[in-house]
Amino acid sequence: MSKKIKTLIFAAALCFAATPFLYIGGQSEGSGLSILGLAIFCVGMAIAPILQMTAGKEPEDAPPTADK
């Protein structure tokens, strides 16, 4: 499994982990939980575009990663 896939698994897990905070925070109008949930969700959402943008900057002759 490639490093990118492992990172995306982490990103997806963050998005799913954020939803209980968003749900409870949104229902009870508790802004603390909502903010926490949104922060976690934003980190999860940001990972894929960041990977895309940083991947474009890698030199073409970079050595292959040693994922097994």
């Binding site: 995306l8 997806a12 968003l22 909502s34 969700f41 575009p49």
Partner: protein, 535 residues
């Protein structure tokens, strides 16, 4: 012209349109994958929602939950088992016997393509929907040797005509429900809808031929296009006046079965004479002669037979379906509102998912039973399950990110009024020219929601009001809405992603959209012109 909570200004319209432009630019222009493009666009939608559409924090939080819930229980539940069934079939080496078997049905590769991309996809859409036709038919096309990119495009174009009356006509019933049409009004609207869907159906058949081999393929495929579309599109038109619920199923079934007859005719009982580049070269297809000898067509197709049996046996037998539909998963969502007073009512059971009567469960069961069958016959090598699961997870993860971001952004646009501002803005600006734009609004709805049904719910009543305000033909406008929404399924990122994920082409969504956008927008223009004549 139209009363609406959010100010319909040029500034608000442009701000609502910016995310769509950016999403398309990233996908088509920069060739980003849907996961990356969707996630970045989600941030932009959030900024627009908070700063321009006055969305408070708790609404933002709950709308995000709605988005995640919808992504998982509307789309990902189909994506995950669809990938699994493909990987099981692939691990067993069942695609090669399957391809050989198809050649016995007809040696004509153009008709083989039509059989899967148009006939079988339309049939599946008539029965199950939920993206299953794309998730099944695109890999099957790859299985018979079609290049993955073309396979996705063909399946998208070939299935979408049956979106309105397929899946037990749920999209059509939703349109009738939100517009409160009388019996007579519904009959006229159904007639127009049937006519526009027939146009779509013909365009789909011709597009499949064009992709196969341009004008020469259209010439060779014309008899099949005429006969199949007579049964699919013409059947839809006639049946629209008789029975809503089984319309799509009957039209889809007739259109599929006639292909087996066509394969015996002088037109198609010989190899195609048209040169095509949509197939992977035969010498590139890894062929296992031992597998071919041992595994016949029917054994190779066994997971799909199980899928058909489960689907037909459960969804079309009302008492069984009703009994299995009792168990539902849903989430209660309180009322949400924006600072502009755009209110989304409380939902006691948001996004209800019926696990025992959903196509996703049938797919999962078919994959598991298919694995057991292949394994019992010795077609799964030791360690096969591990390889299947590894490849499935590798494909599922990027698709999961993509669907969560795309659904979250579309739900946020819908429930903060951005989607409605887009539609109302078009209505306000175009005035008497609106009749032409009606199918494009349908396309917009499907593009944002990935569903003909959701698009009709989102914009059905708006289209009705717009038709009344401009004094246009209401039935034709509503028919254009649902036909446009059906066409919009060919460009809805979620549907595109279903195809690219299941054929292992993830990240190439933009390449698919380059073709399907031309088909969808071209078709909408044709329907728009037709509406202007009758409106």
């Amino acid at each position: 012209m139209l009363d609406f909570a959010v100010p319909i200004t040029m500034g608000n319209w442009i701000l609502a349109f910016i995310p769509i432009v950016i999403l398309l630019a990233l996908l088509v222009g920069f060739r980003w994958g849907a996961a990356e493009a969707g996630a970045l666009t989600w941030f932009i939608v959030v900024l627009v929602a908070v700063f321009a559409y006055k969305t408070p924090l708790n609404t933002l939080a709950l709308e995000t939950v709605k988005g995640v819930w919808s992504a998982v229980f509307s789309i990902l539940v189909v994506v995950w088992p669809a990938i699994l069934i493909y990987e099981v079939t692939n691990e067993a080496g069942a695609f090669e016997p399957f391809r050989k078997g198809m050649e016995r049905v007809t040696p004509n590769r153009l008709l083989q393509i039509m059989a899967f991309a148009w006939g079988f996809a339309g049939f599946l859409q008539g029965v199950t929907g939920f993206g299953v036709p794309v998730a099944i038919c695109a890999p099957l096309l790859v299985g018979i040797g079609v290049r993955p990119l073309q396979a996705v495009i063909l399946a998208l174009v070939g299935h979408a005509w049956n979106n309105t009356f397929g899946t037990i006509a749920v999209a059509w019933l939703a349109l009738k429900d939100v517009t409160q049409l009388s019996g007579a009004e519904a009959a006229v609207t159904a007639l127009y809808s049937g006519a526009f869907i027939w146009m779509f159906n013909i365009v789909a058949g011709l597009t499949i031929c064009w992709i196969y081999g341009k004008a020469k393929a259209i010439k060779e495929g014309l008899p099949a296009v005429v006969i199949i579309s007579l049964l699919q599109g013409g059947g839809t038109l006639v049946l629209s006046q008789w029975n809503d619920v089984v319309n799509g199923f009957i039209a889809g079934t007739m259109g599929f079965l006639i292909i087996f007859v066509l394969g015996r005719t002088n037109w198609y009982n010989k190899p195609s004479s048209v040169k095509t580049d949509i197939f992977i070269d035969d010498d590139q297809i890894t062929s296992d002669a031992a597998t071919e000898d041992k595994m016949g067509f029917h054994l190779a197709f066994s997971p799909y037979y199980i899928l058909l049996t489960l689907t037909l046996g459960i969804l079309l037998i009302a008492p069984i379906k009703n009994a299995l539909s009792v168990w539902k998963w849903s989430i209660p969502i309180p009322e949400t509102a924006t600072g502009y007073g755009f209110v989304n009512p409380e939902a006691a059971a948001y996004g209800a998912f019926t696990p025992l009567a959903h196509g996703a469960t049938f797919l999962l069961a078919s994959a598991l039973i298919g694995y057991l069958i292949y394994n019992s016959k010795g077609f799964i090598e030791p360690g096969g399950m591990g390889r299947i699961m590894a490849r499935t997870i590798e494909k599922c993860i990027p698709a999961t990110i993509a669907m969560v971001s795309l659904t979250a952004l579309s739900v946020l646009m819908r429930d903060t009024g951005q989607a409605a501002v887009l539609a109302y803005g078009v209505g306000t600006a175009t005035g008497g020219f609106y009749a032409f734009m009606a199918p494009f609004v349908g396309i917009l709805g499907a593009f944002m929601t990935g569903s003909n049904t959701a698009a009709n719910i989102l914009f059905g009543s708006f289209q009705q009001t717009a038709a009344q305000v401009i004094g246009s033909n209401e039935a034709a406008i509503l028919a254009a809405q649902t036909a446009g929404a059906a066409a919009g399924n060919t460009i809805a990122p979620g549907n595109v992603l279903l195809g690219t994920t299941t054929v292992g082409l993830l990240g190439k969504e933009g390449d698919v959209l380059r073709v399907t956008m031309v088909v969808a927008l071209g078709l909408a223009a044709v329907i728009g012109i037709a509406v202007m004549f009758v409106a």
